[in-house]
Subunit: 303 residues, 2 copies
């Protein structure tokens, strides 16, 4: 292959993924390892990086990383820079890991209406990669801690977090609503999911609505092995309800949402947003890699 211009690393809590990008910012090659910061013991990040890169170690291209690797529990702590944040704000906050000729992108911090801080780390880079400099976009990044962000002309204006994915996980694994069976094909989006979304979009209290998983099964109105699907729908529906209200309160156009992500979860958000009557766009599959490339270019790191 031709010479790469950047080694980009999306380094999260449970996994690390490395990319080589060409002069146009396109991904030429990628590899991943189960070397997220929760798996690297005793701060042995240097060894973890060597394992992840393998024979790419000889590549002289600059290296830029984003994600939890820059958190207090990561290799070095990169700052949280304040919203609204432009590409220049992110470049100014880059944190160098000197012994590894690697830099880490800062996270973002904002405050909600109550004055409570909100943070992201990794998603800022995906936003830079998935939204062009001339666009205005309301974006959702589904996940353990789902993020919604308003991006305008290359600047992340504001964002908000919902603990949807984590709540789903702990409720299924540890509460009375826990899985009572498994569906034949977990990749299919069933009618129990869309019923749940309907419920979540219309509820004023998610802690009341989720009790429905128990009562619907008890009264024979929901098969017990559809509880996971129904609960997923309620939680995602409730998130969409709250996020659309958040956007509208801020004067942001909420009639169209860009979904950043390409997994099964993103497909669920696509279904649920359509139910809410919102138009949908899908973001770049390599949003993190492309975002790292744009930040590197702005920082003058590319040769």
């Amino acid at each position: 292959m031709s010479a790469s211009t950047l080694i980009a690393i999306d380094w999260g809590t449970t996994s690390a993924r490395a990319y080589r990008l060409d002069a146009r910012g396109d991904v030429r090659d990628e590899r991943s390892a189960a070397l997220g910061i929760s798996q690297v013991v005793g701060g042995r990040y240097h060894e973890a990086l060597a394992t992840l890169l393998g024979d790419w170690r000889a590549d002289p291209a600059p290296r830029l990383a984003c994600g939890m690797i820059g958190s207090r529990q990561g290799w070095i702590e990169a700052p949280y820079v304040a919203c609204p944040a432009s590409l220049d704000t992110l470049v100014a906050g880059l944190a160098p890991v000197r012994e590894a000729t690697l830099s880490i992108v800062p996270g973002l911090i904002t405050r909600d209406r109550s004055g409570t801080p909100d943070v992201m780390r990794g998603e800022e880079t995906q936003l830079v990669g998935a939204v062009a400099a001339n666009e205005t976009v309301l974006a959702v990044l589904p996940g353990t801690h789902s993020k919604w962000a308003h991006v305008e002309h290359g600047r992340v204006i504001d964002f908000t977090t919902y603990m949807t994915g984590e709540l789903y996980g702990v409720l299924l694994a540890h509460s009375i609503l826990g899985r009572m069976g498994t569906r034949a094909d977990a990749s299919m989006i069933g009618s129990a999911f869309t019923r749940g979304v309907e419920r979540g979009l219309g509820t004023e209290s998610v802690t009341h609505a989720i009790f429905g998983a128990r009562t619907l099964v008890l009264t024979g109105a929901l098969p017990s092995n559809d509880v996971d699907d129904w609960l997923s729908g309620v939680l995602i529906g409730d998130e969409i309800r709250a996020a659309l209200a958040w956007s509208t309160d801020r004067g942001t156009d909420a009639s169209r949402v860009r979904i950043i992500g390409d997994d099964r979860l993103a497909a669920r958000y696509e279904t649920a947003l359509a139910q809410a009557g919102v138009a949908i766009e899908r973001g770049d599959r390599h949003a993190a890699a492309r975002g790292l490339w744009r930040i590197a270019r702005q920082a003058g790191l590319l040769h």
Copy 2:
């Protein structure tokens, strides 16, 4: 002691409590055992009852029970009777356990605005015991699954459930918000709790608000060993916000709330309701026993 007129049993998931009541319906004696339905293996309820009653087995007084003992997983399944439910409705739904000369009070079922069923089992008896026949009351029964009920002239008109206590438990034990330390005195209600209540009363999304436990600690605005207290406040505050809206929507006076319960959790609700500007009353400490006595009297069980 004088002859008892009733042996009343409040038989739940984790414990069973028996009472002897006199002719005026006052509790004369009580005993309890860790013989909740989750602890009784192989359906050995007859043995469990004998252990619980001990030397009361010779007492010829009638026996009446309420709670999860009447659920599908209990001794026999007592029905769920529909709201609005009067004392007569409960009496008509009594389920006899013939081999034990014991009857079990039915649960209640209602449907919320979305048509989703809601159920209670045991709380209907506490409501009967804590609200006099000539009163109109908005009541809360704090717990794993908190119940709010509108009771009018001895009839339970409607009710709603919030999974507040269970959510608190699973989030602390199993989520990223998990307890990072312990407070010196867990029985004290600290300032972190009242801060949490303020947040919960004002939020439009509890799945967003709870993420504040992480960001407030991260930014040094909340000591990490106050997370449990703060989270408890957010969840109870959010429940009160939703329940007051539920009451107002239904045209129920929500300016005064009766708290049924006398433990530490009830004290937290007292603090939180005061913050919400709601007047507070405390229910009878022996609400379940007194409720069983009233139902027994109405059923003509008392000699």
